[in-house]
Symmetry: C2
Subunit: 407 residues, 2 copies
């Protein structure tokens, strides 16, 4: 497997576009299209929030009942959540309009939205945007980039990645894009993530690969602890790579899963590092836990802690906050048996062990915590299980962005 | 029952003091003493964090095994958490020194600490501070106030309250003080809270009253979601009011519990409203829930949500964030069946119902959200259960305080 340049248009048969539709933002692309020239198998994971946005309900139905999918229409600016029946009608109008223009059934069109909750959707502007998207769609890297930029809200950078993997002599490509960067605390799903691949795979095995892939990627990141109403990850597979169809957990399936995991992990980390207001990617790596589930819980507790996040922002070696967050995670352990390290590209420092602070240099600790990627590494000395979670620091900018998001 | 002026020195037989000990802060009182002239029954609740500060371990033992308690020694500045054996030795030294000077057993002395985790305790300065405290102790309101001020860390105001209640013709007094204001997310306990009362009550009934009282008070507040290593609530009862000893759940017990609840609720709300960096007390009131437990879970989910807290700070009627937080709380409900209101002293506005935004005035909504106490009122229409939780907004100042807390 190797990483290549590109994104959602890298795999064979996929086209994309971005367009200015003025849904809410002005003077920027705010709608995106992902389109496959041939029908695709589709798998998805969605928010566990009881309050589900209309596009989530639409897409769940497409994933579960449609024979195939072939296009995804996305807008940023307004979330189409808490919008009642008009919100559901809007999804239908978008799908019908795109389906008509693309010559595919409305039931093969997925929709996704991100932005302000509770605001009414401007159906006319969305449909006008779809016309622009269909006219502009192309299989080029530029078109993929346009799409990745159009789905951004408070993101500061677009997020895309692509990889190639050989399956039975055939080159299979997987490309993906996603957007963060607030209300990020995915649970069995993510914010908006779109992955396209030309792999030939059964729908059942595709869903199995996707469901497994989110557990250690999107489900291990958090920006603010708020699980969105709109979290959606969609994976489209059109089979154009020509590999023998994957229908069981064989070597090809394993190789595909590894490549897919690379894509989801890459996108998830990008999302965490570009969390609203973030100045650093904040990683917590747990080793030596008694169970995988406990390792995950411990890692997430640390990266979700407001006080830990503020300490990272301040480059402050206030290690007690990380221990405190481990302690209230719900996992039982003996604090006297825990070793805690700070690490980054500037080095690795042993901070706490045997129940007490080690004799470390504050200056060096501050240096390590000042890098753009900081890891709190914790050995629980209870077993063999490991997990890693990713978040970001808590900055003034986060408050600024969110105290005045709608204006 | 009526509220009276005063605090921990209001009940008969209680003395207090504050003193400058330079534990970590300079030029301010940073140690406090609460002392009863006669032995007390004692009850307590403590942090559920696996990482427990040394004073928590010391006090648990006193509450569970000592025949009586008679004094509490508190310091601010350093938390005596993650301090290993030297930390436990420090508690013992403090108790022995105070016991010797006060002429009571070391096992009758409770200790409490709040401040930076992981820093070594300056035992000599603490013992010197205890000498000042014992010399200064008095039964006056001024001495109670000195104690309430000495336990503050990032608090902007001291927090104390006192009430009187008649039990069988005798006046029983309850006084209390507490400190916030960061790492506040108590779980079956609180940050530091101290309540003194002259009620005559059995130890068993006192603990029962205290354990019940924290559920709807301290356990329903959150500043930052971080459950501290040091959370402690101690209640001392010396019996000097002369009421018939309460040994069962009779009318006197009920009247005492009501008065105690008033004190704990008052202190809890003060703590939430003075959360680090807070500009507003942020209340969520849930009515019509199916169970009390679900009502509590829903209310806490809203006041803990970073995005909801940031919206309160920005006076932004971004109601979707409150619905989102209800939705990911873990409680099942139908979003179409929820009514949501904003209320404050400036009025009450119907914001969301039947699955969609109501036709409210943005200007009026902003006005309501600009008050110092703001309530999100939610009717779930599922049953009769109610609960209220209190938090605060998320401000630049919160980040500032916590990015640089140790310096």
């Amino acid at each position: 497997m190797k990483e290549i340049a590109g994104g959602v248009t890298s795999a064979k048969g996929f086209e994309a576009a971005g367009a200015e539709a003025a849904v809410k933002y002005k003077n920027r692309k705010d709608m995106a299209l992902v389109y496959s020239t041939v029908p695709c198998k589709v798998a998805g994971t969605f928010t566990t929030n009881v309050v589900k946005a209309a596009p989530v309900l639409w897409d769940k139905q497409v994933v579960e009942t449609s024979a195939f999918a072939q296009a995804v229409v996305v807008n940023s600016g307004i979330a189409n959540a808490c919008t009642g029946k008009p919100g559901m009608d809007c999804c239908k109008s978008e799908a019908e309009h795109a389906g008509k223009l693309l010559g595919i059934p409305a039931e093969a069109v997925l929709v996704a939205s991100t932005g302000v909750i509770g605001m009414a959707m401007p159906v006319d502007r969305l449909c006008a945007g779809i016309e622009k998207l269909v006219a502009a769609k192309a299989a080029t890297p530029e078109a993929g980039l346009d799409a990745a930029k159009a789905i951004m809200t408070t993101d500061t950078v677009h997020k895309q990645v692509a990889v190639e993997v050989e399956l039975g002599g055939k080159t299979v490509t997987i490309g993906g894009m996603c957007k963060g960067s607030g209300m990020i605390h995915p649970n069995m799903c993510t914010m908006l993530g779109f992955v396209t691949t030309d792999v030939n795979i059964s729908k059942e095995m595709l869903q199995k690969a996707v469901s497994a892939s989110v557990v250690d990627s999107f489900n291990m990141i958090s920006v603010d602890g708020d699980t969105s109403t709109n979290d959606t990850l969609l994976v489209l597979a059109n089979g154009l790579a020509g590999n023998e169809e994957i229908t069981a957990e064989n070597a090809d399936f394993k190789a595909f899963c590894e490549a897919l995991d690379y894509v989801t992990m890459y996108l998830a980390k990008k999302m965490a590092g570009d969390g609203e207001g973030a100045t650093a990617l904040f990683e917590c790596r747990i080793v030596g836990a008694d169970t995988k589930e406990n390792a995950r819980t411990l890692a997430k507790s640390v990266i979700c802690s407001s006080l830990s996040k503020a300490a990272i922002f301040g480059h402050d070696a206030n290690f007690g906050r990380f221990l405190c967050a481990l302690g209230y995670s719900g996992v039982q352990f003996d604090p006297e048996n825990v070793d805690l390290y700070f690490q980054s590209k500037s080095g690795r420092i042993y901070i706490y062990g045997e129940g007490i602070a080690k004799d470390y240099s504050e200056e060096e600790a501050t240096k390590v915590l000042s890098d753009e990627e900081v890891t709190i590494y914790v050995d629980m000395h209870m077993g063999e299980a490991e997990a890693t979670a990713w978040g970001c620091d808590l900055s003034y900018e986060y408050v600024k962005i969110n105290a005045d998001y709608r204006s």
